[in-house]
Subunit: 368 residues, 2 copies
Amino acid sequence: MIPQNAEDFRTIWLSPDDQTVVQIIDQRLLPHEYRIHDLRAWQDGVVAIADMYVRGAPLIGATAAWSLYLASLHADDPGQEIQIAAEALLQSRPTAVNLRWAVERVLARLQSAGSGDELRTVARSEAENICDEDVEISRGIGNHGLPLIEAIAAKKNGGPVNVLTHCNAGSLATINWGTATAPIYFAHQKGIDVHVWVDETRPRNQGSQLTAWELAANGVPHTLIVDNAGGHLMQHGMVDIVITGTDRTTRCGDVANKIGTYLKALAADDNTVPFYVALPSTTIDWESRDGVAEIPIEERDPAEVTDIYGVSNGVTTHVRTTAPGTPVSNYAFDVTPARLVTGLITERGVCNASEKGLLGLFPEMDSK
Amino acid sequence: MIPQNAEDFRTIWLSPDDQTVVQIIDQRLLPHEYRIHDLRAWQDGVVAIADMYVRGAPLIGATAAWSLYLASLHADDPGQEIQIAAEALLQSRPTAVNLRWAVERVLARLQSAGSGDELRTVARSEAENICDEDVEISRGIGNHGLPLIEAIAAKKNGGPVNVLTHCNAGSLATINWGTATAPIYFAHQKGIDVHVWVDETRPRNQGSQLTAWELAANGVPHTLIVDNAGGHLMQHGMVDIVITGTDRTTRCGDVANKIGTYLKALAADDNTVPFYVALPSTTIDWESRDGVAEIPIEERDPAEVTDIYGVSNGVTTHVRTTAPGTPVSNYAFDVTPARLVTGLITERGVCNASEKGLLGLFPEMDSK
């Protein structure tokens, strides 16, 4: 079974057969296996986050919230159990902003709840709210980004609108629709001829293994390319617009995203291809201004670079591509300066990648 | 046995035990297996070129020349056999410029040769000449590129000179020393503290599988990175100079090289990191001016993108990373405009990437 990205698709949900079980897609196995994984205790949620069964800031947050619901179910002292679970969840991926936000939000709601039953009801309802709100945020991004694609389609005399994207800022990273993919899905649903160049996204291959998978599941035409190819495509007029996601955006519009995003932004700039970044406003870091100077870039396990997941003779396995002992560096993100970003697509609208642009959409942050 | 890149290292040689056998390294198996492969008949040379046991323009040309020597050895009518071999060799990698050049050069020398014995002697001597001259060309590039690294070392207060390279323009692509790597090897031999960032170079991983291998074999400090990482490193002052090779350079200094080179050149330009291209003058296309408009870019087998060579449980194998049926595009090269190239390192010296710069070193081409 491969889900169609219809209105009711979700990346995390309560089991229809058992309301004490939360279900997720084990994304580590995609695209070679589509396996639904049961979370029966909050500890399962910690493992799912730490071991990357789930990834993407919104989905990590939602998984944490649902894990607190699981913590409320079986303990003699659910209040204490929730506190223990919250501590463990916060440690599971320490750098994920949405994780802390979701945990603190559920804890805050639970403070006014009384008995075990009420705790359970409130925890469940807050996890549901977090998911529903995230879907609405993606919908807002999709609705505001759609006109950008429509405008290109109107200008082109036939032929598809060619969108290039990097990494997976798709349904699989959120609850549904994704961020960078939301305008693409909405355009496709509206019958616009849209085609996506999918960057492989080394080292973890989220493009070839997740974005290509979900676009295929939804019937969106796409072509996989290596991360090296985008510049050549842009030089030859084969890319109409770039849309990526972001992990963190500064107050001035600098964008931290998957390593390699900066290189695509440079190529877009050199070939006057519009370069847009789609984001929920929760990922804006209003305290930070200069992304290159201020945003710390995580270095991850060298094995992500050297060991590659795939299928050999029908069996899923990893191969090591390098000679033993090859020294490896693995920076996970880079920062694209605002000057290279044509615009930011948020749930409230599209704005310039600048403090003025962002404050125009989020005036309540002006005094902060 | 892993060869040290000493003065006498070669990528192709006559067997010391049998002067009718030519030996090469089966580069398809690196870095997981180092296997010497015997060429006993010219047909073996065709296979070695077509199936990429050998790659890199100079080494392809040398393999063709040695294959003509093999053709001269055993036939009743060596002259006819050489003609048949020449035709087949020219078809083995139709786009390789050095291949045609080497075949035509040997054929021209053979025209004045008489008997079978003389044919054999002349063919062997011309193959040897081609190899010896290529080593001298690489040495020239190394000698002229070395001062660029020395100058950076002199300016830095300790710490290594960090060179970034893309693909394999190393010993393995030539007969010895390589092109982009020659200045690096010479700097290392001179005791300069040099460290190389090795781009993985998707899709064929020539960086992780060939460049990293030969740098390790020669004791040159290096670190493997994904192709996405170079921009981030340059933003943070971690790259002092970029040196790449090229497959074809236009009269005006545009550079066609492995896909992704253009992206690194953009990042170098954006961070004022010097970006040099090392080339034997035989790869200059004096007829071509505008690389982006004029140089056709080869599209290669999608399997290069989807199927990855490595080791799993001690056994070499390929894994398919993508879901079956994922559409793939695989452009092999891109063009870096001369405006992004700081200089060209040739066997005659370093010049600006411009017609004026090139004609300054090669005045004999002025009237052409």
